[in-house]
């Protein structure tokens, strides 16, 4: 059985552990800097194993050494943006956490594939790539799976069909800057445009863009974690079981889609080695413009990151 480490034992991390345990994907190590939190959650999970009947080991620790030999590391550590906090502060804090984690991954889990969830997603992925020096295909960001699962759910809700029968491909950055390929969205094989008019599809796209914000508005003190954790766990499953799922993920682009040296959401096949293939689809002019806008936002984030390196903050 493989080993999966989850960095960050907050709601996303712990819920991902739950999904991973239920599917018996591998033994699990949860790491968090807060003393007692990963230990307590690890124990709590083990206490439920006789009832839920999973057979994986779950272990909570404050020591990054324990990730030794992991096949997959899920990076969920970091702070969430609070009202009034600017994006720069968020980036600084989370980039530092990513940096120290990356160094531990190189040292203790040099063969791992890293699935990263922490925001700002596409920039933190870049920190992990630079600091690990891994092959680019071994760092993969979770964004498109989450945007597309929300999009699929909203379409299913509108049509009154089972959400699993809806297929969708969402590219670009996460949330606001996502680029849904609506002509590649289908329900039981039917193009979504055969079943819903354009205005309805557009409204669902908007609702999806604000999907994360809608949950935050209800929760007030936190953000969504069930769907994000389910998305990360899906990616982990595709890797550890070498299932080769075709799904959208934020990956390092080296000329694909005409972009260089940024992480951006595109369709990939995820397998044992991480990103096994990047799929280049033809885009319409409108889709390309939207993707350019997404890429520009990521490039700006990377410039900010570069300035942190220049100022020796990182």
């Amino acid at each position: 059985m493989g080993k999966i480490s989850v960095i960050g034992a907050g709601n996303v991390g712990a819920t991902a552990v739950y999904y991973i345990a239920e599917r018996n994907l591998g033994d699990i190590v949860m790491v968090d800097i807060v003393e007692g939190v990963p230990q307590s959650k690890g124990l709590d999970f083990l206490h439920s194993s006789p009832l839920r009947q999973y057979s994986v080991q779950i272990f909570g620790t404050n020591n990054l050494k324990e990730i030794a030999g992991s096949d997959v590391v899920i990076f969920t550590a970091g702070i969430a943006r609070k009202p009034g906090m600017d994006r720069m502060d968020l980036l600084k804090t989370n980039a530092r956490i990513a940096q120290s984690t990356a160094r531990a991954i190189v040292r203790y889990a040099p063969d791992a594939v890293v699935v990263t969830v922490t925001n700002p997603l596409d920039v933190i992925a870049m920190v992990l790539l630079r600091e690990t020096g891994f092959d680019a295909g071994r760092i993969v960001g979770m964004a498109g799976v989450l945007d597309s699962t929300r999009f699929r759910y909203f379409i299913a809700e509108k049509l009154g069909v089972w959400p699993g029968d809806v297929r969708a491909m969402v590219l670009g950055g996460h949330g606001d800057s996502m680029v849904p390929l609506t002509r590649y969205t289908s329900v039981g094989g039917f193009a979504v445009h055969e079943l819903l008019d354009t205005a309805t599809v557009d409204a669902i796209v908007e609702k999806t863009r604000k999907g994360g914000a809608e949950v935050i508005n209800y929760l007030k003190t936190g953000s969504a974690y069930y769907a994000p954790a389910a998305s990360a766990a899906k990616m982990v499953e595709s890797i550890v079981r070498n299932e080769r799922r075709l799904l959208p993920a934020s990956v390092y682009l080296n000329g694909e889609y005409g972009y260089d040296n940024i992480f951006l959401g595109v369709p990939v096949i995820l397998g044992k080695t991480g990103v096994e293939k990047i799929l280049e689809l033809e885009l319409t002019d409108a889709e390309k413009i939207a993707l350019d806008r997404s890429a520009l936002a990521v490039q700006n984030g990377v410039q900010t990151l570069d300035s942190l390196y220049e100022e020796k903050i990182l």
């Binding site: 009947q53 009154g160 069909v161 089972w162 699993g164 029968d165 297929r167 969708a168 491909m169 390929l181 590649y184 969205t185 289908s186 329900v187 039981g188 094989g189 039917f190 193009a191 055969e194 079943l195 595709s238 299932e243 080769r244 799922r245 075709l246 799904l247 959208p248 369709p267 096949i269 799929l279 689809l281 033809e282």
Partner: protein, 311 residues
């Protein structure tokens, strides 16, 4: 019959390979209790017992029972009809019509209109017998579903996944029309995570997968010799049962008596339908090419003649 039945119940008429494996898949999913019935005495009780004796290891909590009394199936949420003769190597499904029609007519009379059950037709030729069952039982067409298109679809999905080396979970395929060599596979309705199939493989390759799908059932009979396929058929039945019992609203191609769809009346063929507690909730019609529509109507005409001949 042995054991009490607590949760929703599915009855399976015909405890052969398809019937017993359907019970097995339903149990593993924990969807419903299952009652097996067969005209051959004892076989249902024996298979049910064997399945229950696996339960402590497989840890399913559903109850499976066998009965020799047809009356026991009353009150079932779903009745699966998997009784009848099966094909031998080299035989077409249509050749079973005469002998299996006799069995289905009798079952229709015994089940009657009074039942609130959903009927899942499995016996071949499935489209002809689905239409025959609706007519003979007087049940509304929405509550009689045949498994043809779903089986063809799962076979195509497998072939696509295998050729592309991409997880089956991402494959969305669609096969409609008759469950014969004239089934319709509209290319535009097969995709992988939303990406159209022809963006991922050349048309020639997809064409060969279509051919493989059309002959998949024959191939298995040729290889196994003394049996037809039953794992894939059973998984399709279990999925239909699940969508009914859980009111899951899955959109799946099922054989249903057509009333004007594609200009066809009085015969059953597979079309995509949303399946819930009351059976078919909605039917969706894929846009077909002129050739495909012509083929569909030709198949319908042949079926109509067979049905009329059988009367």
């Amino acid at each position: 019959m042995q054991g009490e039945i607590y949760m929703s119940r599915v009855s399976i008429v015909g405890s052969g390979n398809v019937g017993a494996n359907t019970a097995f898949f339903i149990a593993e999913e924990g969807v419903s209790d299952v009652l097996l019935f067969d005209a051959r005495e004892g076989i249902s009780t024996g298979k049910a017992l064997d399945l229950m004796e696996a339960a402590p290891i497989r840890t399913y909590r559903t109850k499976i029972a066998g009965t020799d009394s047809f009356e026991d199936i009353r009150g079932s949420e779903v009745i699966v009809l998997s009784a009848g003769h099966v094909r031998k190597p080299g035989m077409r499904r249509e050749e079973l019509f005469e002998e299996n029609a006799t069995i289905i007519r009798e079952l229709a009379a015994r089940i009657g209109t009074g039942t609130g059950s959903i009927v899942v037709m499995v016996t071949e030729p499935v489209d002809l017998l689905t239409a025959l069952f609706v007519e003979e039982s007087g049940m509304p067409r929405e509550r009689v579903l045949g498994i043809g298109g779903l089986l063809d679809t799962t076979r195509l999905s497998y072939a696509v996944s295998r050729d592309l080396c991409i997880s089956m979970e991402n494959i969305s395929a669609l096969v409609i029309g008759p469950h014969t060599k004239d089934m319709i596979i509209p290319e535009r309705y097969t995709n992988v995570s939303g990406v159209p199939i022809l963006k991922l493989m050349p048309r020639d390759q997809f064409f060969s997968l279509k051919e493989e799908t059309v002959h998949a059932g024959d191939f298995i009979i040729e290889m196994v010799k003394n049996s037809t396929a039953y794992y894939a058929p059973s998984s399709c039945i279990a999925e239909l049962v699940r969508s009914v019992v859980l009111d899951a609203d899955r959109m799946l191609p099922v054989s249903i008596l057509l009333c004007g769809e594609y200009g066809i009346d009085g015969v059953a063929m597979s079309v995509p339908a949303v399946i819930g507690r009351r059976g078919v909730k909605n039917i969706y019609l894929p846009k077909l090419t002129a050739d495909e529509e012509r083929q569909l109507r030709k198949s319908a005409e042949q079926m109509r003649l067979t049905l009329q001949g059988g009367r």
